[in-house]
Symmetry: C2
Subunit: 484 residues, 2 copies
Amino acid sequence: MAAAPNPPRHLSDEEFRRAGYALIDWLIDYRARVAELPVMPRVAPGDIRAGLPAAPPQAGESFDAILADLAPLIEPGLMHWQSPNFFGYFPANASPPAILGELLSAGLGQQGMLWQTSPACTELESLVLDWLVSALDLPARFRTDGQGGGVIQDSASSATLCALLAARERASAWQARDDGNPASLVAYCSADAHSSLDKAMSIAGLGRARLRKIATDGAQRLDVAALAQALDEDVAAGLRPFFVCATVGTTAALAIDPVAAIGTLAARHGAWLHVDAAMAGSAALCPELRFVNDGLEQADSYCFNPHKWLLTNFDCDCFYVADREPLLRALSVMPEYLRNAASDSGAAIDYRDWQIPLGRRFRALKLWFVLRSYGIEGLRQFVRHHLALAAELEALIVADEAFELLAPRTLNLLCFACRDDDALSRALLERVNAEGRLFISHTVIDGRYCLRLCIGQTYTTRSHVLAAWQHIRAARAALSGESS
Amino acid sequence: MAAAPNPPRHLSDEEFRRAGYALIDWLIDYRARVAELPVMPRVAPGDIRAGLPAAPPQAGESFDAILADLAPLIEPGLMHWQSPNFFGYFPANASPPAILGELLSAGLGQQGMLWQTSPACTELESLVLDWLVSALDLPARFRTDGQGGGVIQDSASSATLCALLAARERASAWQARDDGNPASLVAYCSADAHSSLDKAMSIAGLGRARLRKIATDGAQRLDVAALAQALDEDVAAGLRPFFVCATVGTTAALAIDPVAAIGTLAARHGAWLHVDAAMAGSAALCPELRFVNDGLEQADSYCFNPHKWLLTNFDCDCFYVADREPLLRALSVMPEYLRNAASDSGAAIDYRDWQIPLGRRFRALKLWFVLRSYGIEGLRQFVRHHLALAAELEALIVADEAFELLAPRTLNLLCFACRDDDALSRALLERVNAEGRLFISHTVIDGRYCLRLCIGQTYTTRSHVLAAWQHIRAARAALSGESS
């Protein structure tokens, strides 16, 4: 038999080293430049693609050639989420240790689907999630060394879906996995809860129509009396409440639902309580902010996103359950080709059974790097810094007659508008974002068009916030034809 | 108002540069060492965790301190998926350009949920997925610039789930998203299809009991006559076939289902045809291997994993649909805070609606780096190299009286056993993996315990394969008390 054809040419060690160093340098340069770049890209659909070849190259190209294309061809199409002037949506804050943790994860190329397929991936993940239980003062039953436990999901959307599936499995007396949805299930959240609730109900085959969106009170929090009434009406109609989601920090206004009261109602109906604290959860690092944990002792599941406000690049959602059995019953599979002694013994966690996909990478590394590099004190300082900036900006908005707050500030999000003029607010958003000096997003609160300014980027400091506010004021003045 | 507290101390540019270079060096050193490390870790559950502090540090630590812990504390718990002696499960092959693409993605910190939130992330992804349509000679209707399109999922499990949800939405005349599962739906796959089918049926609330696992023929392929019979019986019983999954390269034996015949049956019943070619799909890079695409022109959806056999680190599953409407109808949500002009115009792709989670990172970068760095010719050479090695090993196994093949070789997977002695095969697997010179996995084929040896790691060459075979032969001889 003829010898095998030659293997392809890979980058040599020296080529990889040179390319790796060059990319690290590129990222450092990007960090130095990014504050000056227009935050929102100035491209129309199709522009970026039009600048790239329609077909892939037949022969390999040098890494230098690839790197040289980044600035002219890719960069113009980036929204600069890492700019200190990015105040939109939520802060997807990365950091040097997290970036390097992702690099290491890619280089080690682990597959953490089973304990057996990467014990280190599994055990470091359990450990850092338990570290966070103590750092955030979460209920001890979320710890992995007990009956419950934590796992890294890609996003709060996936965590919410997993919570819903676990709740369904429990409500069906462990029949749903095999026999499909039991009849009459109904779920609850506030009208301001995240859209992933709708999506999860659709995916689970329950349908969005079975998700009750409970009215909010005057401060965008779920109205407990309205929830109680909806629960009673559904029960009277022969339906079965099985899942209630409370939100700690809504997407629109960062409102904090009354979790304890919601939990009492959920418990009375035997429903699962999931608490979604995607961005706000990180605040619990600071003892003085632990009001974000109120009521959590009743939660069946909980999630928050270090990829939002804890210096860890996406994806990193920490999802906890108080009892892992319903989750495992909902999601376990064990084909022959994955059987192994550690799984059979029950002594090890197989994280495959805690999530939707089978495969998983070593995401705990980046979280471990962040926790060690900053330390708990450094992370507290990070949160406190942003909160102080948000408080300062709040005072400036309140003091400005041209603007008004549309929702109480709970943490690091400002919801404001041009006073009594939604059209002006809308024009202001477009103008400010088009100018590119900063980026903010919007929502609608009580029918009013609302500007959202969220302070949480890694390198955002007081000067960025004050400059953003000056810029917003000047843009409003220009739009309304006044002198500023 | 007092000025904000100081921000936390981040790594300075020079510290980040030094840490980044050091980590690149660490990875190059790891690559140099990995072939000599025991592939399977020699740890028991709890060992890795026991070596790490029970609580997170209060004060920050230096990156040097973190890096110094990797080799003694983490490495002993790694399964070395990147070793050239890793032949188990599937090859999770990473490569230098892919690793650097992941680094860049982490550093840019993009959120590609909407076109608006990162036009470059969206458009580069569409482009490289279209590149792959031409490079693999897939049906043109999978191209993103037509009615269909491609998207990167984390895994084939998630792709399968999305296909199932799109199929359900179509079968329900667009009612499932809002109203939940229609009655009587039933799905089909072979008994050897991936466990993610079970999981997807559970998640979707249809239940595993509604998944018909069709018998296989003598070569582990779905038996078309048995499928036809099952479809007829279900229809006669008042059930509604809505989804059929054909597998191109089963997990156990890399068997290739008769996709064309399955597609004809699916079409006759109005059922969705999904084709799962997770590992095998990469073979279509080579014109002489395009038999893996047979029948694809009838598929409603298709997926394969560059993170299995195309030098791209996990996660990177390419998922294609022939018509994007059912997928979007199943998964679209549009809360106010995500509304924007590009989405409203319909001119842009919002990949959020093509997947389970909302958030998404810039995964196209690593695929773009791989395609450019190797070129199509380099990637073909990669596949051909492994195939030639697999053919050579096949001949050695067939020529050895102590062993037998348990399934025909289709591509780069060998399924073999000790002749007529399952207990010996089982002992052989344990011994070889415990010795650590290589790693293989197992399955059961037609009731026989089967060793799986898959050739596809980035740096696996002829010498690794021949050494592995010598080692397996010697271990078998030692076990059976013979001299080798």
